[in-house]
């Protein structure tokens, strides 16, 4: 129960549906399923095994683990990625956590009376501060600030003292309750039909189609598009919508055309693969630096193979069978196809789910309970994100837990303050989520599987993993870990850099516009027009660099890591 509970977090119910919607549903699901099998599970097992080995040598941080395994001076600097990732993600994760608490309390105290999509969007914009930079810091119960302060203090109180029995039990029993509540919500979503009789196409069945249909149908312009215009006029799901579209195209005089995009065409987008892989990493906490730290506290008798599989399968169940069936179909039913992809990665759940509860009997109770359980799920995840930073500071600075927690609380207060200030269009949050929550995780996961498969070798790696295990990793995974997984990650990474940074178009083999994440940082063009840089995005990257330099300096001075580089255990026997 505890393993399953610790695997569930905001990624399942909020991030996953947002990404699936952003990348068009069906094809994303294919990439996601493949990613789970060939990178999520194998890298998870590798991380469990490497973490436990490092722990047996006395090292509990990611830089310590890399130094203990590779015995090279530079290894600790690679390992600090495993500290940067959870610490920086914590800086924005705790912000989202505060929205959950705010929504839960507002539901229970009767502060939410939603009747339309516009109202729920407006409420979310006020809570998240999207109206203007600094607006989330307004001292109002409608904004995030008071909830954030409660959440932030609560997190550090828990990590400082350890979870008391009562709170630990609440978290452990809260997770199965979250699953039960999610099943109740799922039943309501599946019976929503078309909430607005005036828009019969906006219904749950079309929502499921948007989420799961492998092929996409859309109306496109045949003429070259002008600046500010999109080539895609409308996405379509359902026979009735397609029949209407055929008439519209026939009446357009050749300016519009109906296009079917096969899954294979969609899967040519490397960003889709990177997003799918990163979502697997994000929700399984693989490539995060988290598993390696917690595994380092385990003994040889513990079963890391079944631990990894149980955590992974619990997470996938919540994500695919619950998160995937609830949020996107409800979003299509309430917002329509056109609006679903534009709600931001984390925003979709906050704009759609309150409307679902508004249409349920005892909606205020269920809404409050659901967001509160989500808050509990997020608490366990955010605490797990702090432990890698704490373990690192303890090891690198040779200090106790209290000092380490104090330093980390100062650092994360500054970082969260930054994210909570730059909330216009959630630019800081989205920038950090892409460059750290996607890009850096991808890099760390790639390094981990290369270290496991090539430095250790599959034979030794699997032997380490199998100690204490009641099940064996199927032999095919040896081949996957050695060849398929690293090759897959390197190809996706290379293609993403080529398309996102250099703007290379894989379908026409020409150079065009770079991704918006890159344009925000260095400027560029869109539809032939120059686009300026974004200051919040640039400052977000400065924040990441400062954190990296701080951790790098501490690593360079660490005596513990010098011992690890020499192949020595942290303490003499």
């Amino acid at each position: 129960m505890a393993v399953a509970g610790s695997a569930v977090g905001l990624g399942n119910f909020l991030r996953f549906p947002g990404l699936a919607a952003q990348y068009g549903g069906g094809a994303f699901m294919l990439a996601y399923a493949i990613s789970f099998l060939i990178i999520g599970l194998p890298i998870g097992w590798a991380e469990w095994a490497m973490g436990r080995y490092a722990g047996s040598r006395g090292y509990n941080s990611c830089p310590g683990a890399f130094a203990a395994i590779l015995n090279k001076r530079w290894a600790k600097y690679i390992g600090i990625i495993g500290v940067i990732v959870p610490v920086v993600i914590y800086m924005y994760y705790v912000f989202i956590e505060s929205w959950c608490l705010g929504y839960a309390v507002k539901f229970w105290t009767g502060g939410i009376h939603l009747t339309s999509t516009e109202e729920t969007v407006a409420m979310f914009k006020v809570m998240s501060g999207q109206i203007a930079d600094g607006s989330a810091l307004t001292p109002s119960w409608n904004a995030a600030l008071p909830w954030l302060m409660i959440v932030f203090v609560f997190n550090f109180w828990l990590i400082y003292r350890g979870l008391s029995g009562g709170i630990e039990k609440m978290c452990n029993y809260g997770m199965p309750l979250l699953i039960v509540l999610a099943l109740v919500v799922l039943a309501r979503v599946m019976t929503l039909g078309a909430p607005d009789p005036a828009k019969p196409h906006d219904n749950v069945v079309n929502g499921l189609g948007y989420m799961w249909n492998p092929s996409k149908v859309q109306i496109e312009r045949t003429q070259p598009v002008a600046a500010g215009e999109n080539k895609v006029v409308e996405e379509l799901v359902g026979a009735a919508a397609i029949a209407n579209a055929e008439q519209k195209v026939a009446a357009s005089g050749g300016t519009l055309k109906l296009v079917t995009i096969t899954p294979w065409q969609q899967l040519k987008n490397p960003l889709l693969w990177m997003a799918a892989a990163a979502q697997i990493f994000f929700s399984l906490s693989v490539g995060f630096g988290v598993i390696i730290v917690y595994a380092s506290y385990l003994q040889k008798k513990d079963d890391v193979v079944l631990s990894g599989l149980t955590a992974g399968s619990a997470n996938e169940f919540c994500e695919v069978a619950l998160g995937g069936l609830i949020t996107v179909p409800a979003a299509v039913a309430f917002l329509g196809l056109a609006s679903v992809a534009g709600q931001g990665t984390f925003g979709l759940g906050f704009t759609v789910l309150p409307l679902v509860f508004a249409k349920m009997p005892f909606g205020a109770f269920f809404g409050g309970a659901f967001f509160f359980m989500l808050f509990l799920a997020a608490i366990t995840s955010s605490i797990s994100m702090l432990q890698p930073g704490i373990a690192f500071l303890e090891e690198a600075m040779n200090v106790g837990r209290k000092v380490s927690v104090t330093i980390l609380s100062l650092l994360t207060t500054l970082g969260t303050g930054f994210v909570v200030y730059f909330t216009h269009e959630l630019k800081a949050l989205d920038t950090l989520d892409f460059w750290v929550g996607t890009f850096l995780i991808f890099i760390l996961a790639t390094i981990q599987i290369i270290v496991f498969g090539w430095h250790w070798g599959i034979e030794r790696g699997l032997k380490e993993a199998h100690q204490g295990a009641s099940i064996r990793i199927p032999a095919i995974f040896g081949f996957i870990m050695k060849w398929i997984c690293p090759l897959f990650l390197l190809v996706i990474f290379g293609l993403t850099v080529l398309t996102s940074v250099f703007g290379f178009d894989l379908s026409t083999f020409t150079f065009g516009s770079a991704s918006s994440y890159v344009v925000d940082l260095i400027g560029g063009t869109k539809d032939g027009k120059p686009v300026a840089t974004n200051q919040a995005a640039q400052l977000s990257m400065v924040l990441v660099i400062i954190v990296a330099l701080f951790f790098g300096l501490l690593s360079a001075r660490s005596k513990a890591y010098q011992r690890a580089e020499q192949g020595l255990p942290k303490h003499d026997a």
Binding site: A2, V3, A4, G5, S6, A7, G26, M29, L30, A33, N60, G162, L163, E168, C171, V205, L208, G209, M211, W212, N213, P214, S215, V237, G238, S285, Y294, Y297, L298, K301, D302, D303, L306, S307, L309, T310, A311, S313, A314, E316, F317, E319, V320, A321, G324, L325, T380, S381, I383, S384, Q387, I390, A391, E394, G400, R401, K402, G468, S470, I471
Partner: protein, 51 residues
């Protein structure tokens, strides 16, 4: 929703549900396995050293 969409959905949801169910069954039916399977533990050994 197309037939292929329905198949993808049923396969995906069915696979993760069966896998999760099997893991729970395996943990609960293997002797002492509940003591050997771990996730994110709330209490880490460094808490005891510094108290």
């Amino acid at each position: 929703m197309t037939t292929s969409g329905l198949i993808v959905m049923l396969l995906s949801v069915g696979t993760v549900t069966v896998l999760f169910g099997w893991c729970i069954w395996k943990v609960l039916t293997t002797p002492q396995e509940t003591d050997k399977v771990h996730g994110v533990e709330f209490h880490t050994p460094d808490m005891d050293k510094d108290s």
